[in-house]
């Protein structure tokens, strides 16, 4: 957000990064840590920074042992490059975040992004097994390691996932990887109401049919589409699809159709995957607001209704609502709204946030125009009880002078 930066430095090693940060620390200079820049609009506006530390030259492969199912790379490596390296060996990192031009591995981790298949494979906290980082004062540290099972020392890398560069610079990451599934299939169906669609999704999530993704999309007249993914060995996938379709038919699903396997996502799933955090994509350019609603599975209909209310207030007729239905997440990405309605919707957004928080959920503003961010904190309350002061303790112990990406995070951290 800030354009005050006077210098951008791009270290090639952790030691160079350490020297840069050490000097900044000695001079009390605030630092913006930046990867590919695709997520610069995530978080609060933040305080001005006077130095940008770019990770783009920290882009090397450190170690890859396909037989061990682990890979270690420097944090500035492009996410796409990481995928290519593993694809050559028939492996993948089972995470399907929006594929943004230029996104880096470190950026993906620092912003904790994920995709539809998190339902089956989990999120970054399930995949990162080790990390090298540099503290604000230049100290280089490590946590975890290069083996898949490890309880030696504190799992500091867990703290760094989603920390938006507010705790340390991440210089190197080690991941657990998996063999690519033999086949992946998506299929579509329609339900008369969102309530039935969500209920069916919940039943699927509780079943042992192991769907890889359940994406529920609002369509006209209160109906919804459900997009289901299944990954695995062919013989198993065929059976899983049969079981899932049988359950869905029982629930009243109409127009079940299997997608051409050549497509990575169904068209409408692809849009939300691109919308999440994208800036430059043609199709997504129209979306500059993205809200994330989080609730228990059983509160998803309630959460959906809160989101619909906000859409109505915006006079938006586009029904741009999508539920990651097996996980409790709903994304709202209004596009056909009138600008002047945005600020008027603030009380409604705040009301929805309070109602979700009261049920243990949250409403996070992932993308919004500056005018909205100036009036509305993007994160809401940190979950739990007395948790903010514990998070502030972490921040203080690692970045006492508050120099790294200050002010962007929860509670003004």
């Amino acid at each position: 957000m800030q354009e005050l930066d006077i210098t951008t430095l791009s270290p090639e090693t952790a030691e160079e990064a350490s020297a840069i940060l050490r000097e900044a620390w000695e001079n009390n200079t605030t630092v913006n840590i930046r990867g590919g820049g695709t997520k610069q609009d995530l978080g609060n506006i933040g305080k001005p920074t006077y130095l940008t530390l770019s990770t783009l030259k920290l882009d090397k492969l450190v170690a890859y042992e396909p037989a061990d199912l682990t890979i270690t790379v420097q944090a500035g490596m492009k996410w796409a490059t990481l995928r290519e390296i593993m694809a050559e060996k028939g492996q993948w990192l089972p995470l399907d975040p929006p594929e943004l031009e230029g996104a880096t591995v470190g950026g993906v981790v620092a912003s904790n992004v994920s995709g539809p298949k998190r339902l089956l494979y989990g999120t970054l906290r399930d995949l990162v097994i080790g990390c090298q980082f540099v503290l604000a004062d230049g100290t280089i540290g490590r946590s975890g390691g290069r083996v898949v099972k490890n309880v030696s020392g504190y799992d500091l890398h867990k703290l760094l996932i989603g920390s938006l560069g507010t705790l340390t610079l991440i210089t190197e990451l080690t991941f657990k990887v998996l063999p690519k599934p033999q086949i992946s299939r998506w299929f579509n169906m329609r339900f008369e109401t969102v309530a039935i669609g969500l209920e069916t999704s919940r039943k699927l999530a509780r079943s042992n049919f192991s769907p890889a993704a359940l994406e529920l999309i609002g369509i006209d007249n209160g109906a919804c589409g459900l997009r289901v993914a299944v990954d695995g060995q062919e013989v198993a996938v065929v059976r899983q699809m049969d079981e899932i379709m049988a359950l869905c038919r029982q629930q009243g699903a109409k127009d079940i159709s299997i997608l051409d396997p050549a497509n990575k996502y169904p068209e409408d799933v692809a849009i939300i995957v691109e919308v999440m955090g994208s800036l430059g994509l043609q199709r997504a350019i129209a979306y500059n607001i993205l809200f994330r609603f989080s609730s228990h599975l059983t509160d998803m209909l309630f959460s959906w209704q809160l989101a619909e209310k906000i859409l109505r207030q915006l006079d938006d007729v586009s029904l741009t609502l999508q539920a990651r239905a097996g996980t409790g997440l709903i994304y709202l990405y209004p596009r056909a709204y009138k600008d002047e309605n945005i600020l008027e919707a603030i009380p409604l957004i705040q009301d929805a946030r309070e109602k979700l928080e009261a049920k243990g959920g949250s409403l996070v503003i992932e993308k919004a125009p500056l005018a909205l961010k100036e009036k509305l904190e993007v994160w809401g309350k940190p979950a739990g009880l007395n948790s903010l002061s514990a998070m502030q303790t972490i921040k203080r112990q690692l970045d006492e002078r508050n120099l790294l990406n200050p002010g962007k995070f929860v509670g003004g951290i």
Partner: protein
């Protein structure tokens, strides 16, 4: 901030202490006489130390008051679950108050629709899976001692088990935590089921922190649907290296089984002498493989796993035809620790991890260590994730044997670290391995972790002496005070060990 690390509490008037603690938790929930305290001076490891008092709180509020009391009185405090830990995490190394969670053992809520349960820390691991089985669900992490160990202890150590190869360990199944931090504050972390809660992943930090930055008082766990089908195989090899090759082959082929367990000849002999699982005693190694999924898919997996094993040189391959056969195969694996206990007066369980591809090399070196120290070592391990459990057999009654066993164990861990692995896969660092931390971390790495600890444990009273090396001692072999009460205890707790 002043860190009072070496606070030595004044001479303690135990009767007064017991009275004060009784005012918080009730007199019937305090032990303070030497005779009673003796039962709480050890866990499943080889260390021990007497607490000044043991308390059994029933509520989070009581835990918070106990911690505040300890702060006021400058008393050390240490959390304890079932005491099955293998690295000394619950040993009150400097005395003080031992807070035992065995009476906080309620399953607070089973929320099957949201695939979660809320439990108190004293709930026994297996009891939770039993309680949710009727919903078609289970709690995945299944550590060795799951019949005895508590979920609070599992959270402290980030415990694993054989079925964590695909599904992950405790941290991957922990959604929310309630903890009492060393300042006596009650805090709740995580979204408890709602995902992507705003803020740092505090649950991720606290799981596996070995009770050094707070006491867990409630846990929200993820529940998982039971698989539609299970298939179990046993492959027999006349050579350890061929068995390791089969493990790599299975993983590389893209088949990730639910469990992939290996045992060497000595472990096989021990098992056959006690539980008769039907393993051929002349085999150099057996590989126990379990796959989960739809029956049709399992058939196909069976075929490809058999092919891989045969190609690697398996001399026989057997599929369990029914549950009875499956149970028999598992009985051997589950009973392995106990069986080794019958073979030798004492044994020391090591827990090291290496990258999968280094298994043959590391196993050969473990064999050399056995020769060098002249102590038999049986190998039982989670081959799928490279997690070794060499069991070093010794006789504590023989002068010098305990020291030899501990030295051999340290050597094995050093070998694991040098092979690119780590100190512990699931048992924790505790006191056992604190002086080995420098095998994998340098001073800066550890100082960053210490900063986190010092941020929470500002007075240095919370589970002292754990995880971090004694200054100047790193790399030295720590020989614990001799004592063998715990050796019998291990066997009892681990009689059905996985």
């Amino acid at each position: 901030m002043t860190i009072v690390k070496e606070t030595t509490p004044k001479v303690i008037d135990r009767e007064k202490l017991a009275h004060d603690l009784g005012a918080i938790v009730g007199a019937e929930a305090v032990l303070w006489k030497n005779y009673d305290l003796k039962l709480y001076e050890y866990d499943g490891s080889i260390d021990k130390h007497l607490p000044e008092a043991v308390v059994f709180p029933r509520t989070t509020q009581q835990v918070a008051e106990l911690v505040k009391y300890c702060n006021r009185e400058r008393l050390y405090f240490t959390a304890r679950g079932a005491g099955t830990g293998l690295s000394g995490g619950s040993i009150p190394l400097r005395g003080g108050v031992l807070i035992a969670f065995t009476r906080m053992n309620k399953i607070v809520e089973i929320d099957a629709d949201n695939l979660r349960a809320v439990v108190e820390p004293g709930v026994v691991n297996l009891h939770l899976s039993q309680a949710v089985a009727s919903y078609g669900l289970y709690y995945v992490p299944d550590p060795s001692s799951q019949k005895a160990c508590t979920i609070g202890g599992n959270v402290g150590e980030n415990s694993g088990g054989p079925h964590t190869l695909v599904y992950g360990v405790t941290t991957n199944h922990t959604l929310g935590l309630e903890v009492v931090t060393p300042d006596g504050e009650i805090r709740r972390f995580g979204g408890e089921a709602a995902p992507d809660a705003p803020g740092y992943d505090m649950c991720g930090l606290f799981v596996g922190s070995e009770g050094t930055i707070g006491l867990v008082t409630q846990i929200t766990v993820r529940l998982t649907p039971l698989p539609p089908g299970v298939k179990t195989f046993l492959a027999v090899f006349d050579d350890l290296v061929k068995c390791s090759d089969a493990v790599s082959g299975i993983i590389e082929a893209g088949v990730v089984p639910a469990a992939l367990e290996m045992m060497d000849n000595l472990a096989i002999q021990a098992v056959e002498a006690s539980v008769h699982a039907g393993y051929p005693t002349e085999a150099a190694a057996v590989l126990l493989v379990e796959c989960e999924g739809f029956p049709a898919a399992l058939e196909q997996q069976a075929t490809s796993i058999e092919e891989i094993c045969t190609k690697a040189g398996a001399i026989s391959f057997k599929t369990a035809k029914d549950n009875a056969e499956r149970d028999k195969l598992w009985k051997g694996r589950k009973g392995a620790f106990g069986a080794v206990g019958r073979m030798s007066p004492d044994y020391y369980v090591c827990d090291g991890v290496v990258p999968r591809s280094k298994l043959p090399e590391v196993l050969a070196r473990v064999g050399e260590v056995s020769k060098e120290y002249d102590l038999p070592i049986a190998n039982v391990f989670h081959a799928g994730d490279g997690n070794l459990h060499p069991l070093i057999m010794f006789d504590a009654n023989k002068p010098g044997d305990t020291e030899k066993a501990v030295k051999a164990g340290t050597e094995i861990i050093r070998i694991c670290a040098e092979a690119g692995g780590t100190l512990s896969g699931e048992h924790g660092i505790g006191v056992e391995k604190r002086d080995m931390m420098c095998f994998v971390f340098n001073e800066d790495d550890m100082n960053v972790m210490r900063r986190i600890r010092d941020g929470f444990d500002t007075s240095g009273l919370c589970n002292p002496g754990k995880v971090f090396p004694t200054p100047g001692r790193c790399g030295e072999t720590r020989i614990p005070a001799p004592g063998r009460a715990q050796a019998n205890y291990v066997r009892e707790g681990m009689g059905q060990a996985w």
